[in-house]
Amino acid sequence: MFGRIREMLIKEFIQVFRDKRSRFVLFGPPIIQMLTFGYAATLDIRHVPTAVLDLDNSQLSRDLISRFTASPYFDVRARLTDRRQIGDLIDRGNVLIALQLNSGFAEDLRKGQTAHMQVIVDSSNSNTALVALGYINQVASRFSIDYQFERFNQISPLLLPQLPQIVLDRRPWFNVNLDSQWFFVPGVIGNLTLVMVVTLTAFAVVREREIGTLEQIMVTPIQRVEFILGKTVPFFLIGLFETVLISLVGVLWFGVPFRGSFAVLALGAVLFIVCMLGVGLFISTISATQQQALVSGFFFAMPAIVFSGFGTPISSMPETLQWLTYLDPLRYFLDVLRGVYLKGVGLDVLWPQMMAMGLLGVTMLSISVFRFQKSLD
């Protein structure tokens, strides 16, 4: 039996590494994707193009505006003189934000009334708009506090120290500089592992079926179990190797810290790859052509990635969908990847994720193997 499995493995490896193109398929796409993702994927918002319309032109209004000019989050590109200019600039997409201070701004403040700053935001990109609005509010409330203190200081300096005030002492853990590469790079490792293992496994079987060599194999004395092992073990090994490869790119090229233990990550990767082998085999049982396999793989991969919390947090998705994410193996693998890379946590924290992946893996693989055996009849 082992002799036959060995022959089968040798055949698969020859097929995978046969020519330049197939070797490229193994290493080129993952690395290109890793690099593009690493550099392109950022939801940070800096240098938002901004226009300013200061109709008050007082010391106070200039003070407020200068806080925006000084901020790295805003890039004041235009100083306007007429409010009609705002619409045009935003329509053309030259600026995303326009700040408007009407005349009487300083007067209102001095009289102790609420002064108003009008903000017009192009919110067609809701993320940019939301983050920028957050920054605007922070600048504005800083200004309010400073102004209030100064005014209070003028009126009754003795009472000032007694004024109650709560300040937020914020401490971002695991990623002090809020670097988005640190967030995305471990996630990309999960995505790439998913895509590679699923496509390779599904294609390996379907190609034989499409070209007609599957019959040739089935007339040899090979057993079904041996065939299945021969079709999964190579991709298990290749998948594991790829995971290590792209993990190295993450650490060495992007400088993402690796704070946890390699063994924990390896365990997570093994369990995850088992799940993906199950998916790949399953797809191969429902596809007659490679085109079908490719599209089915895509059907699985896209939702699996979107709902894993890869890009946006699961907690902001609709509630029913949040329940569905528990069926997504990538969700758990991302927890493991980010946990090991950034948080440096071990099995004491990650055991539920490991259990979930193990359970999903065994279930998926059993269903697939069962279906696969039937499909060989």
Binding site: L43, L109, M302
Partner: protein, 377 residues
């Protein structure tokens, strides 16, 4: 070019597509699935951030402070702990993204006046959520702090100060700041990229792999006829899907469509020509379906997803990458669809993008006509 030969090739492709029922299903299901996955799965409007609180004082004042977090729709207090290890575990395990620690002398300090600091520990492994959490928690804390100050001043029998500055926001184009309005028009581009890359990229490679290419070459059909004949059915599928996506965006997701249908359809046709030609070139060059699918993934789908501004804003990318995005046709199409949907932009403002798309379409069709030469190597 002879019409009857062209018609024959088209008929052959249509039969081939129609023969497996699943391909047809894919044509309808894929856009719907992508729409649902991205429309619901990608949400930048971060809400219900899970919060863990450690109230070291447990007084009425400290509880009052926490109530303001609970009342905000942005936060969801999921856990109250009474020691640091439990707090750290909650962050490590990812059960909360933000942990608030109220000092044991909170109310005492508050009565004495001066600043009291409340610690906000953030799980910054997801830097974007951390960033947004900071904005929102600052807003909650400052509003509460201001309220306390006003109350205090009132008790002192002092002047009642209005909050000095109010920020009045007007959001244009996407009034409720919904991610859906931003994402859904972009999905149209993604669907087309998928059709271009995944379906067309395999058409020629499949003929080579199955050996039917020799048969095709032995007929009098010209290479131009082969190209057009192979692409026409996919073009029609692509246009059908475009309309399907747009309809779903408008009726299901209630995204406004403010522009001209003609602009939308023309730009869709141009972009579709680009991706189909590119897929065709790939499939001629790659020869094997696996290699073709991987190449298509990297040259069509990945750029459309990553470098077009679909999710990740282009102006936040490194300068080199920003330059590269000018070579990505999807970038121009993405701008057009969003502007047409949300801004209702008219043609004059979109001329640059339309011309860029047209140039790409022209170049790639020329490349495609040259790529495939009828001979056996």
């Amino acid at each position: 070019m002879r019409w009857h030969r062209l018609a024959a090739i088209v008929r052959k492709e249509v039969i081939q597509i129609r023969r497996d029922a699943r391909s047809l299903l894919i044509v309808v299901v894929m856009p719907v699935l992508l729409m649902l996955a991205f429309g619901y799965g990608v949400s930048f409007d971060i809400k219900h951030i899970p919060v863990c609180v450690f109230d070291r004082e447990g007084s009425q004042q400290s509880q009052d402070f926490l109530k303001h977090f609970q009342a905000s729709e942005y936060f969801n207090v999921v856990e109250a702990v009474n020691n640091f290890p439990a707090l750290i575990h909650a962050i490590d395990a990812g059960s909360c993204r933000l942990a608030l620690v109220i000092p044991h002398d909170y109310s005492l300090k508050l009565r004495a006046g001066g600043p009291v600091s409340v610690q906000a520990l953030l799980d910054a492994s997801d830097n974007n959520t951390a960033n947004v959490s900071i904005s929102y928690s600052e807003a909650v804390v400052q509003a509460y702090s201001q309220q306390l100050q006003l109350e205090w001043l009132n008790r002192q029998g002092r002047f009642v100060i209005q909050p000095p500055l109010s920020v009045d926001v007007r959001t244009w184009f996407n009034e409720d700041l919904e991610s859906m309005a931003n994402i859904v028009p972009g999905v149209v581009a993604i669907v087309m990229a998928v059709i271009g890359s995944f379906l067309t990229s395999l058409t020629i490679a499949r003929e080579w792999e199955r050996g039917t290419m020799e048969q095709l070459i032995s007929t009098p059909v010209t290479s131009l006829e082969v190209m057009i004949g192979k692409l026409v059915p996919y073009f029609l599928i692509g246009m059908l899907d475009t309309v399907l996506c747009a309809g779903m965006g408008i009726w299901w997701f209630q995204v406004p469509f403010r522009g001209e249908w003609s602009v939308f359809l023309i730009s869709s046709a141009l972009f579709l020509t680009v991706v189909l030609s590119l897929g065709y070139v790939i499939s001629v060059v790659a020869k094997s379906q696996l290699a073709a699918s991987q190449a298509a993934l990297i040259t069509t789908f990945l750029p459309a997803f990553l470098l077009s501004g679909f999710i990740y804003p282009i102006d936040q990318m490194p300068a080199v990458l920003r330059l590269i995005t000018h070579l990505i046709p999807a970038r121009f199409f993405m701008t057009i669809t969003r502007d047409v949907f949300l801004k209702g932009t008219s043609i004059p403002l979109l001329v640059n993008d339309l011309v860029a798309l047209a140039v790409f379409a022209l170049l790639l069709t020329m490349l495609a006509t040259r790529a495939f030469q009828k001979h056996l190597s």
